[in-house]
Amino acid sequence: MPVFDLSQTPLRELNSALHKLGQGANDTAFEVINPRGSHSVAVGIDSPVTVEVKGSVGYYCAGMNDGGTVTVYGSAGPGVAENMMSGTVVIEGDASQYAGATGRGGLLVIKGNAASRCGISMKGIDIVVHGSIGHMSAFMGQSGHLVVCGDAGEALGDSLYEAKLFVRGTVKSLGADCIEKQMKPKHLAKLAELLQQAGINDVKPEEFKRYGSARKLYNFNIDNADAY
């Protein structure tokens, strides 16, 4: 297993090695030690590689991940798994602001808390947070699922499109055009699947409330035609 000690090795060597892996490569389990808050650890992965990061990372860890499995045994700075395409990113600690921003696919699991703007402009990513999330989360979320086992901060789902939000605890306030919606069997089934994928066994889907778009903000209303 290749081991990269970021206190000795430049970050670019790690990321180049990850990018160079060809089809059918065998050595696909990487370990990163002493990340010491480095930025851009394991960004741009485009093959089914496994990366275990032993420590806390800075900005944009696992950004643009496409097919890799990245686990951070520590906390992550702003923009973890930003614009993920596919694969899995697991943060054992907390995540700073805009975790999973603009993500198009894959699964982001945060075992601690996430700060503000979690899942901002999400476009298909699934995000499961064991703890709580900060304000303005899922702002303009277009598709995908955000599952929060704890509480949500102010203005959840502001200007929401079709991302589906599930919160188990309290929501400090809902953003513009975000409303609580009925939990249907298909939602409970999806929630059970996401909880299981995120390794959460002690929480039932029935304990969550579902939030989504009222669809008044992003749909053209003919009564407003004179305003344009």
């Binding site: 808050g37 700075g77 503000s116 900060g134």
Partner: protein, 301 residues
């Protein structure tokens, strides 16, 4: 951008290392702010004495014969020159009129800060060069704050660097930009505050000084700031015995804190904290938006 660091020691045995620890934290934050850097260190007090940190563009001229010239106007002083700055120790009773005296005998020096405990050093240039120029590593103290600047709101000059000090033993570093600083500056000038620069962060410092002059403690002054300051900010503030942190409600300027039995530390990023002793087992968290955090040596004691 801009980088902020702060360290408030609970364990007195770490005090001789304060300068070294803060210097390392500051240098790691170089890529957040390579324009200028500054540090304020609270180095302890001597009964009846006060310190004034002054700066000159021509230290060879302005600092020559300074002690003698102060003596001629009745101020017994001892000055320690460090590059472009000098720390002048005087009787605490003369602190009130020292600004006017410097304006008279050394019109070209600028006062960086004054008080019983604080010393402030700031200059343009890379943080590592600023640290070396003032030999910041050798300094000891109970708490200190530092800043690396990427200028947005005013020119890259010594006076535009942080920390800003607008009251005795008070100082502030800021990451962000204020949008109502011109109006607030006018109001504060009307209330008798004076300003050295057009910088928005100096207004925040002066605002807190004015609020504390009304009898508020640091925590209460920071709470008022949330109502009265408009814009983006993460502030770290020092007083003679206290250390405070506040972020605006939007909280897009980054902040990480760590606490152990030995210290409370602040960094714009976790990277700034990685060399601190015991960081592996410290409680590390991101300060909440619109929430005031402060610690005080005197209140803790």
């Amino acid at each position: 951008m801009c980088g902020i660091v702060g360290l408030f020691l609970k364990d007195k045995t770490l005090e001789p290392q304060l300068g070294t620890l803060l210097s390392d934290m500051l240098i790691i934050m170089t890529d957040r702010g390579p324009d200028s850097a500054g540090i304020a260190i609270y180095g302890g007090t001597v009964a009846g004495k006060a310190k004034v940190t002054i700066q000159s563009a021509e230290p060879a001229v302005d600092f020559a014969g300074l002690e003698a010239d102060l003596g001629k106007v009745g101020i017994s002083a001892s000055a320690i020159v460090k590059s472009t700055h000098a720390v002048v120790e005087i009787d605490a009773s003369r602190l009130a009129d020292i600004r006017a005296i410097f304006a008279d005998i050394r019109p070209n020096v600028r006062i960086m800060g004054s008080g019983e405990s604080v010393e402030i050093f700031k200059e343009t240039g890379l943080p590592k060069d600023v640290v070396a120029r003032f030999d910041l590593r050798s300094m000891s103290g109970s708490h200190g704050i530092g800043h690396t600047r990427m200028a947005t709101e005013s020119a890259v000059t010594t006076l535009g660097a942080h920390p800003f000090s607008t009251g005795a033993d008070q100082c502030l570093v800021h990451n962000g930009s204020l949008s109502n600083h011109n109006n607030l500056r006018r109001e504060l000038i009307r209330d008798g505050m004076t300003f050295e620069t057009q910088n928005d962060s100096e207004v925040a410092a002066a605002y807190l000084t004015a609020e504390m002059a009304k009898g508020k403690d640091l925590g209460q002054a920071l709470t008022s700031a949330l109502d009265d300051l408009d814009g983006f900010f993460t502030f770290v503030v020092g007083t003679k015995s206290g250390f405070g942190v506040v972020r605006d409600p939007i909280a897009c300027k980054p902040a990480v804190m760590a606490e152990t039995d030995q210290y409370v530390a602040f960094g714009s990023e976790y990277r700034a904290l990685v060399n601190l002793p015991g960081i592996e087992t410290a409680r590390v968290w991101e300060p909440e938006p619109a929430t005031v955090y402060f610690w005080d040596h005197e209140k803790a004691a």
